[in-house]
Symmetry: C2
């Protein structure tokens, strides 16, 4: 691509550094901004810059937060002895939107993935184990992705805390509500038969 | 979506104002920036902000440029009496990359599209007609999209300049190089038969 303007070329280059944004998409986005009011670009630039420089991570659960202790950890009505372990903030948002969880979270910041160069020391695992060691926890719920990396991470953490006599559970896997059985993959379907629950319990949903 | 951080919410909102970027994509992009070095976000914010505040449009062809007269218009080796009319800067870049055009451009800034509220007065048509009136042009080549809006714009401009006795041409339409005939649409195929060229001429390409 040959640009008639260094400023444009630079903006397109920086935009194309975002994931799944190629040069062509970046050019389209930047030209769109040029057609809009200048204030829109200013607001975007300022919001990104301010976010990156001022954002904090909650000292307790490592969730993204504007203050040192996030809203969830600061809420006295929530059960701090029940901790749900998740990968990142999107999972916190997803679980919060269900309205079915009133405990605390612990955000790992990813999952163990040797192929991406992410080992246990890159994740917030030590602080979680500390919480267990300090007897601050009754139950830990693993809510990581149902992938090999997620399972590896679950198992790694489990090995470190199994001696401490707390309940360790994992969210249930199975056929998604509304899905047709014939389109489910065999592994999920097989697991959902193995881990079947009493029918009366399913009515409480 | 419920956010644990106002800063994050704000950045996601501004990012989602870009075309074809939804809230989820915006969140993914912003979280990506948070995981990268802070300098990357700074560079992006600065590049966008600088582009928007300092960019100019060439006073002669309306192309995006860092200076008052763009590189192409300032080049004495190019034929300024041959003008290629295009919609936007991307078309200039596409034609420049062919290496087959040594004239000047005139960037309209869009095409006439009543459905989007874009009339002739929103486009850089008057300055083009002025160039013709001032006898500064020998030939005008229309290189707009082969759509109804493109054709309408061509026709509108043609009506204003036809009295001035200059050559007005349009880029050829037809089967793209490398395409199989059986997959071409009937309109394109029909036109390419009507506008057939001497075989010997095709060997020169």
């Amino acid at each position: 691509m040959e640009f008639s303007s260094k400023l444009l070329e630079n903006a397109v280059y920086e935009m194309s550094q975002l994931p799944s944004v190629g040069k062509r998409t970046a050019l389209r986005l930047v030209l769109h901004l040029l057609q809009q009011d200048a204030k829109q670009t200013e607001r975007l630039a300022f919001a990104l810059s301010q976010l990156r420089s001022e954002i904090k991570h909650c000292k307790k659960c490592h969730n993204i937060s504007d203050v040192a202790l996030c809203e969830i950890c600061a809420n006295p009505l929530r059960n701090e002895r029940l901790i749900c372990v998740v990968e990142d903030i999107r999972d916190v948002m997803a679980i919060e939107s269900t309205g079915h969880f009133r405990g605390m979270y612990h955000v790992l910041g990813g999952k163990i993935s040797p192929i991406d160069g992410i080992g246990p020391s890159e994740l917030n695992i030590e602080t979680l184990v500390d919480k267990v060691k300090n007897k601050a926890v009754d139950e830990i719920i693993f809510a990581l992705s149902a992938t090999m990396e997620g399972d590896t991470t679950n198992f790694y953490i489990f090995k470190q805390i199994e001696a401490f006599n707390i309940t360790v559970s994992t969210i249930s896997r199975g056929i998604a509500i509304g899905n047709e059985l014939q389109y489910a993959d065999e592994v999920t379907l097989g697991r959902s038969i193995l881990h079947r629950i009493p029918f009366e319990q399913s009515l409480k949903g």
